[in-house]
Symmetry: D2
Subunit: 297 residues, 4 copies
């Protein structure tokens, strides 16, 4: 299939490479010439604008940092909507707010194009390995159309409901993730301070009602899970500033829905404190540093 | 073994019955004559005081509502310490603060008695079925001594470390449980408000990084987990007022340890609001009512 | 002076009327024809667009609900920037985020126009009486220019610093106001529950270190301050949904500045709960209902 | 009047000296011999126990760190209740929880003694100068009896209601104080980060709806109020650990009353974080350090 691909950053570049590897032909665009050249070297056609990348393709994929970038890429004079043929679907894998998805879908529909939200989880590792999870918001027909293409980049392609529901799923999951990780940080720190062996405590939690992914797979306390960032200085993994961004999306979505999220809003502030302290580049499990290292600061 | 058993409430009574069933002989005491008579009918010797129940036994087990009751049962004129023989171990299965455990262990040691903390999880159902989990704080020798007796009442007998660490394990697990349950309530409510099918959302969370016991086994949103209290009007299960009590113990322990627990303290207030609203008798997963039913109140 | 005035809502209309009363000549615009006609009846020239209202005037004043409206009014094809003469200053009295102010100032500067932020406090009462407080962000020269015009609509014209600082002042004050009001609600509710006479408690607070405007002038407990909304069913005053909007601006500004505001974020969620409960139209001091009426709900 | 005085710490010693200066005769006790000797040098009779200090006096005053100490001083074998004559009133100026006050009043009543709670504000400076504020819980008759004695140690003697209401008043005021101070810290920090001159911001707040004692008299931002601890390195004043203790009393009282206090519980955790960071000895306005110095830590 001939695909237009816009956004060749840490996530987008390996995703585009996987499309190439799976036999698709690509028209690519990125603001960074270096990123664009790298993909051209791998066989993609380098384009001068989103408009050019979207011309004469069967599908457009975008992977951008935030809603403002998606808006620009779509609506600028040299944007996707200026070049795309009617009937061609746009799949946006950026993580953005559901309200923007609805707005973009409306803009696209006015030109005769469908807009599918398909944010991912799995990080740069999953993007490179082609094992991402895609959370897709689309009607049944559209989902059936895009699913085979997404399978070239991911392992789990989950249909979350209609337009926007892919973002809702991702935002709600990451809201809960930010809360459980901070909760595990509190429970492990309190236990350690009170004298229990952290490994014993983690063992009890993991076979009891406190059990969660943040405890049994990604425990923030050093030395509990060998493969977790906590056991290698909180490097790699899912950056705290990305968690902060996602909690911000959750708080914004909650605001527009007038739905209070007390713990989520507090977790956002805690991640903000972590980021303000210069640690936003660490893995998000390093939130435990707010609880553990104070006395020694 | 001849055992003194003090505290025949909703939890204590079935625990004592299981000891009888397993061939132990019991000297029982409770302030309620009805509770006492019921156990006497089952074969226990009814005693007039904790002192009497502790006389000439090989082990004493206490199961009481709070630390103040344990203190009274131990130190009153007609208390356990006035009747117990030196060398006999006291196992306290109440859920109390670790500092009180240390204090009681010191009082017991002064009389030549060991004091073991062994709080349980599993609820009244687990107490009746003999499938409780015991979280035990004791040195290796003591643990080996009491473990066979506890096995008559429970399935998992977990050695958590030295004196007090049973309580630490329980408090930290339940702190995390209160946080994850409230977090799931927020994520599910936000998702539902934003329009995603709650079953789809739960399915995504349960196979993703938000996964936790509160989501996959005990989801607070009605209709997600058939066996969860949410699917039967929040009856049965683990009462919200008990969760409120345990969060209070966590906040107190954190205070004495000067260990901040931001989310835990906020969860405590949310459970307090729920209790103040007259819903403290419901299952603790009904915390979701703070998020869902406001508009219709 | 000939002034273009855009935005004739609950606040804008009385402000515009005061400009007329003080001898200024007005070119007015509003999307609502009724609002526009009302001002025309009072002597203003009714215009067909912001562009028309801004043509041939010496100053433009805008009073709009949110940043998105200001952006539209400025940049639409029929917007202010399409009609305004170079050198004419735009004074925006809307309450919006400081980052948008900077963006709008940049857009205006590109056309040779200055942009001054001048949000107000004082409510519709103050707008009608001409006793508003204006918090002005502008350099010294610009402040001197606009101050006489603002004086026709307000009593206190406060110079808060350069562009954007008017909004910063308003946002920070209202952040603190949301926190102190909620704090007074907590202290008064706790005291009343514990049995102290609320009037006695308020008297002690007001002469002690807890003293604040929310306690001595606008106490949320009924019957303490005769002139406060609490003594007339929480009607009139400053609406809870407006406080919710301002807390949202504070949380957003804090996010962009990576500055944690723990209590502010929690207050936002509490106002969100109040609004979700259908009480967003009441005065913001009705936040005390979250604390007081639960048991009787 | 002949008075028994127990507790000669930083607060108690200068209070006792003021009683001596006002012509009262004192029987004093403290666990510290040095403290006791110092008061004996000033003219008090040094006693060997609370019992001895309470013998043959017309009034007993106690000033102790926490409820546990008051209980001990009252009920120990060598305690006040063992030595005091029937009909003599006990005035406790310690800051403790209202529930303990009720319990102590009951114990005293059983011996024929009245128990009055009279916690103070004003710090060690006020204690030395005799300008303390006393918040008194007592019936009308008792209040009239003790008021003249308290006037020897304080300037404002406030009748807060019946037994326990002195503590309720102090706890509620200090709960609000902890919230407003943290709120001012948030508003000032956010404003400064966003670029407004902190003096200008404080000036606006102090003449607007955010006005409070924590802002206009004791502003936590350095350089705003010359006489505030913030302008002398946060030394002197009211220690953060004392605020932490009082917020703990508020949270405990709220728990027993099932009254949620969301902001208060969060403020407690913030003060706990400050204390855990080794800054509990600073003035409580140094809570602003949680907001300002992160990036530079």
């Amino acid at each position: 299939m001939k695909i237009g691909f816009i956004g060749l950053g840490n996530m987008g570049a390996p995703m585009a490479l996987n499309l190439l590897k799976n036999g698709h032909s690509l028209q690519a665009f990125d603001l960074s010439e270096a990123a664009l050249r790298k993909l051209a070297d791998a066989g993609a056609a380098a384009c001068a604008s989103p408009k050019a990348a979207a011309a004469d393709v069967e599908l457009v994929v975008t992977m951008l940092p935030a809603a403002a970038h998606v808006r620009g890429v779509l609506t600028d004079e040299q944007g996707v909507l200026a070049g795309i043929a009617p009937g061609v679907t746009i799949v946006d894998s950026s993580t953005i707010d559901p309200a923007s998805v609805q707005a973009f879908a409306k803009l696209a529909a006015a030109r005769g194009n469908a807009f599918v939200d398909a944010p991912v989880s799995g990080g740069t590792g999953g993007a490179a390995a082609g094992t991402l999870t895609f959370m897709v918001g689309a009607n049944e027909t559209l989902f059936a159309d895009v699913e085979p293409v997404l399978r070239a980049m991911g392992k789990n392609i989950v249909h979350c409901g209609d337009t926007g529901m892919g973002q809702v799923a991702k935002i709600c999951n990451n809201l809960l993730l930010g809360i459980t990780m901070t909760g595990v940080a509190e429970a492990m720190s309190l236990g350690a301070t009170l004298g229990i062996d952290p490994k014993v405590l983690a063992g009890i939690i993991n076979t009891s009602t406190g059990r969660c992914w943040s405890s049994d797979t990604y425990n923030p306390y050093p030395g509990i899970v060998d493969t977790a960032p906590a056991s290698r200085g909180y490097t790699g993994g899912f950056g705290a500033d990305l968690m902060l961004k996602d909690l911000g999306l959750a708080v914004d979505a909650a605001r527009s829905a007038k739905q209070p999220i007390f713990l989520g809003a507090l977790a956002q502030q805690l991640y903000q404190a972590m980021s303000a302290g210069g640690q936003g580049g660490l893995d998000f499990s390093a939130i435990i540093s707010l609880y553990r290292s104070r006395a020694s600061q």
